[in-house]
Amino acid sequence: MPMPRHASITLTVNGEPVDAAFAPYKTLLEVLREDLHLCGTKHGCELGECGACAVLLDGQPVLSCLVLGLECEGRIVTTVEGLASDGRLHPLQETFADLGAAQCGYCTPGFLVTAKALLDETPHPTREQIKEALSGNLCRCTGYQQIFEAVEAAIEGSAESLALRPTTATPQAANVARAFQASDPSDQQ
């Protein structure tokens, strides 16, 4: 078969500008894992059902197995590797770790970024709002309850720092923050 030619795009991944060259049929998931070596994002079902591949695209959770890499020119991607900043874990990472929200850990990156998007938009969600926001992420280990509790603990425990830290900690993060403000959620799917 003919060797597919590579497409080149520039995007921002976890606060850093990145040039990526990849076969044009690749999904964002494949670009992240295979071309950018960001293996924290997982694949589980290949059809957008399990949520293991969730990342933030311009601040909104998307299933990276359903997004073409080519669609990401100039856009801002946040993966699980981009949640910690200044050598400190994101409050959600702290509470997930402390409260048993990660067992095997395979679905965890998808849950974390989806929960981050929820808290960025709705700083004080109810249990029902948390359930609904995470309903596209499947976990076979926990029974979800400790995940709900971890999200709730991240609200209660560090509401202020959660709102401030990821957007002001580094110049790159500040760019992300600007991008978040600039992007209109209605532009996204």
């Binding site: 293996c39 402390d98 076979r140 029974g143 979800y144």
Partner: protein
């Protein structure tokens, strides 16, 4: 206790929340190539020829393997060595691997699969176990008890016929438990490579690296010492990664031939076809009781649809009849089980291995018995609960039993007495109980060696490394290992590095199955740590002139209990010991106590100790749609002692979750393709979209209570928690549905259609029940007759009389 029993962040949590855990598919090695398997499109056929020339001609295709390249059979059980890495001359289910393509990338390999030309001659498809029971030819395998019957078991303990004859009432019920699958979020993946000194390395998402190691040595005819198997952290296992798999053998062979790393990652569809999940089981329970609910005898029959290969099936068959006796006192007991081959993906062990099916039947039947005798179901169970420290009719040695307390706790929390049978139509409560092994008492292959080994390395840095073959599948085995060592040595978990699941580096642990790791590895870890502590204590004792017995290991110090200011740091103590004794390394090992069961077949069921669980489930059933909602679940689990309550709760709630999926929606079922296609027997829902599993929106509130009476056989008193809490949920849901709308659904999944059908029957004055009508007439072999302990038995079987009579079902 400084660490044990305290809620703690697990040792591998940081890696998991930062995405740093390296799963098998995250491994990328230089020069790595990719493998895809060509799988059979037919459920049962002879392979007439395979022509790979067109595939091999493709640029970027480096290798095509077929059955002849890896001809030696293997299998998880010594009695079922019936698998080949690639089909030799026969395919036995849609999905059976036929050829392997290795290419420069996954896409090239995938595209080349279409260019491997295979000619098949179709054979009769066995779709239903009843067909396999009656039709002996063609045989799916050339071994087994007869025709397409893989295994028949017939065991008798005491005079069951007399017990049933003398009972006030005999209840005779049939149940069906549909098969379902593990659905780990991580698909199976593996990488094989030849290491710099020419030996083979396999990284794989396996729960049982030791057994994979053995299977590779056999299938590749290589010395085991030249093979290294590394279990990568599993992205969920639940039993589905406990067999040695075709793809592991195939890529190992390919790596050896190409001298390049070879990776494979199964697609989600392939995972559904690999299966090894819950057996569909048809079962019949005949139980005799007196008016007060005392069980006089029980006769259990099971028919298992095993699918196309043996897998763990012989053990699964025994497990459908092994643990009935450990919850309630059953003075006489007969078990007859039969596993047949069919042309479907092989069934094997899923969480609870063989016991959820029969527990479902047993606990629903008890609910029916309680109602007939006008005894509250909780009260009935409290009357008949087995006594601690006894030997059951089938020679299982029961240790501590917290079941009565579990029942009291959940009924109190659920306000059972005020709500059961007293709520408005559509709302119901159901109760069920269960028990599970804390580790299988016997290994999979016969040997006298320990089931788990731990080595510790201590050096002058004060750091400790703990080596163990146990496998982290998400349950927290690394955390248990570290916690046990840290507790004994008085240091913190962060001071210890866990090296696990690596057959080169770590002593053998049999693997993460049968809820064995905490108990067996934990005891081995404690022994190794105590031996290290003794060496340190001897050195410190001499230096400080304090008797060793007075020394305390805590807070990273070794000090005098009489005067805590006199002592030294843990690191200093290690230096003293290293100076005195040389390099500090200790070992610990664990072998289960000898089983009391000395009859053939008595190897399945014994365990060092058993966990117990009781649960009350609340349901809301909409009589107009049949839709079931579960708002609340109360569950109490007799854990002995919770080593890390955060992890224990996670296992309990995860079990409840998985059980709700099995009870209400999950099913691994098959359909025929239409005649214009091949009529092949294919999976109905081989995707995560169509195979329904519970989401966040389906999950009830779970109230978990732990009953902690330390069991002397467990590490710091701990028993299992990974599987037991799943068992009572399915029957509790069925019992709750009955309380809500008065219909019996004697099979899973309990779907809205079945509830509506039963409600229709009820409205029409017919039996308000959906479930199997009868159990097939199987000509069982004469039972092995083992007198129970109270009839003077010693655990051996009576000699069989010649011309063994057939027992009628």
């Amino acid at each position: 206790m400084n660490i044990i029993g305290k809620p703690r962040r697990r040792v591998d949590a940081r890696a998991k929340v930062t995405g740093q855990t390296i799963f098998a598919d995250d491994l990328m090695l230089p020069r790595m190539v990719h493998c895809k398997l060509l799988r059979s499109p037919l459920p049962h056929a002879r392979v007439l020829s395979i022509d790979a020339s067109r595939a091999l001609a493709q640029p970027g295709v480096y290798l095509v393997l077929t059955g002849g390249d890896v001809p030696i059979p293997y299998g998880i059980l010594p009695v079922s060595q019936d698998e080949h890495a690639l089909a030799i001359d026969r395919v036995r289910f849609v999905g059976d691997p036929v050829a392997a393509v290795v290419a420069r990338d996954e896409l090239t390999a995938f595209a080349a699969l279409d260019l491997v030309d295979v000619r098949y001659e179709p054979l009769h498809t066995f779709a239903a176990p009843e067909d396999s029971l009656t039709r002996d030819e063609p045989r799916i395998h050339e071994y087994g008890d007869r025709g397409n019957v893989h295994k028949m078991v017939s065991l008798n303990f005491g005079d069951v016929d007399r017990a049933l004859g003398e009972a006030d009432r005999v209840f005779d019920d049939t149940f069906f438990y549909q098969g379902n699958t593990h659905l780990p979020i991580e698909q199976h993946a593996a990488v094989a490579a030849v290491d710099p000194d020419g030996k083979l390395v396999l990284w794989s998402s396996t729960q049982t690296p030791h057994y994979v190691h053995r299977a590779l040595a056999k299938a590749l005819a290589m010395p085991a010492a030249h093979i290294r198997v590394i279990a990568t952290p599993n992205g969920g296992g639940f039993g589905g990664k406990s067999d040695p798999f075709n793809h592991e053998v195939v890529i190992a062979k390919a790596a050896l031939l190409l001298d390049r790393p070879v990776k494979i990652c199964l697609t989600r569809e392939e995972v559904f076809y690999c299966h090894r999940g819950r057996h569909p089981v048809l079962m019949r329970f005949r139980t005799g009781v007196t008016r007060d609910g005392t069980i006089t005898g029980m006769h259990v029959q099971t028919l298992l649809d095993g699918g196309a290969y043996g897998s763990y099936g012989v053990a699964s068959t025994f497990y459908t009849g092994a643990l009935q006796t450990v919850t309630y006192h059953i003075p006489s007991y007969r078990f007859q089980g039969c596993r047949v081959f069919t042309n479907k993906p092989p069934c094997g062990p899923k969480r609870g291995h063989g016991t959820p099916q029969s527990r479902f039947g047993q606990e629903i039947q008890l609910d029916k018995i309680a109602e007939s005798l006008a005894i509250d179901p909780a009260e009935l169970r409290l009357r008949i609960v087995e006594r601690p420290d006894t030997l059951t009719a089938n020679y299982l040695r029961v240790g501590t039993i917290g079941l009565a307390e579990c029942v009291r706790r959940v009924t109190k929390s659920a306000d059972w007495n005020n709500r059961f049978r007293k709520m408005p139509v559509g709302r119901g409560l159901g109760l069920a109980c269960s028990s599970y092994l804390s580790g299988a008492g016997l290994p999979i292959y016969w040997n006298d060696m320990p089931h788990s080994g731990v080595q510790l390395k201590l050096d002058r840095s004060g750091g400790v490394t703990a080596f163990c073959g146990a496998t982290e599948i998400g349950q927290g085995s690394d955390d248990v290992l570290v916690a046990c060592v840290a507790e004994v040595l008085g240091i913190e978990p962060i001071d210890i590095r866990a090296v696990t699941g690596d057959t080169d580096l770590t002593p053998v642990d049999l693997g993460s199955y049968s809820s064995r790791v905490t108990l067996m590895m934990g005891n081995a870890a404690i022994q190794a740590a105590e031996r290290a502590r003794d060496q340190l204590a001897a050195a410190v004792s001499r230096k400080l002139s304090i008797p060793a017995e007075r020394l305390v290991f805590a807070e990273r110090r070794v000090f005098d209990s009489a005067d805590p200011t006199v002592g030294m740091s843990f690191a200093e103590a290690v230096c003293l010991a290293e100076a005195r004794f040389g390099t500090i390394g200790t070992t610990g090992s664990y072998t289960p106590p000898q089983s009391a069961a000395r009859f053939k077949g008595g190897g399945v069921g014994p365990s060092p100790t058993y966990s117990y669980t009781a649960s009350v489930v609340e349901v809301v059933v909409d009589p107009s749609t049949g839709w079931v909602e579960i708002p609340r679940v109360w569950i109490a689990h007799d854990i002995g002692r919770a080593l890390n309550p955060v992890l224990v709760r996670g296992q309990v709630e995860g079990s409840v979750y998985m059980a709700i999926g099995e009870a209400l929606m999950e099913e691994q079922t098959f359909r025929r393709l239409p005649p214009r296609l091949s009529q092949a027997l294919v999976h109905k829902f081989p995707s995560m979209l169509e195979y329904k599993s519970p989401t966040t929106m389906d999950m009830p509130e779970v109230f978990t209570e732990l009953v902690e009476h330390p069991d002397p056989r467990g590490p710091f008193g701990a028993k299992e928690v990974g599987q037991g809490p799943l068992l009572p949920i399915m029957p509790a849901i069925a019992n709750a549905v009955y309380d809500a709308v008065g219909v019996r659904i004697d099979e899973v999944p309990i779907t809205p259609e079945k509830i509506l059908k039963a409600l229709d029957a009820k409205a029409a004055g017919r039996l308000p029940r959906v479930g199997p009508g009868s159990f097939p007439n199987i000509s069982w072999p004469a039972p092995l007759d083992v007198p129970p302990p109270w009839e003077g038995g010693d655990g051996t079987a009576r000699k069989l009389e010649k011309g063994s009579e057939k027992v009628k079902a």
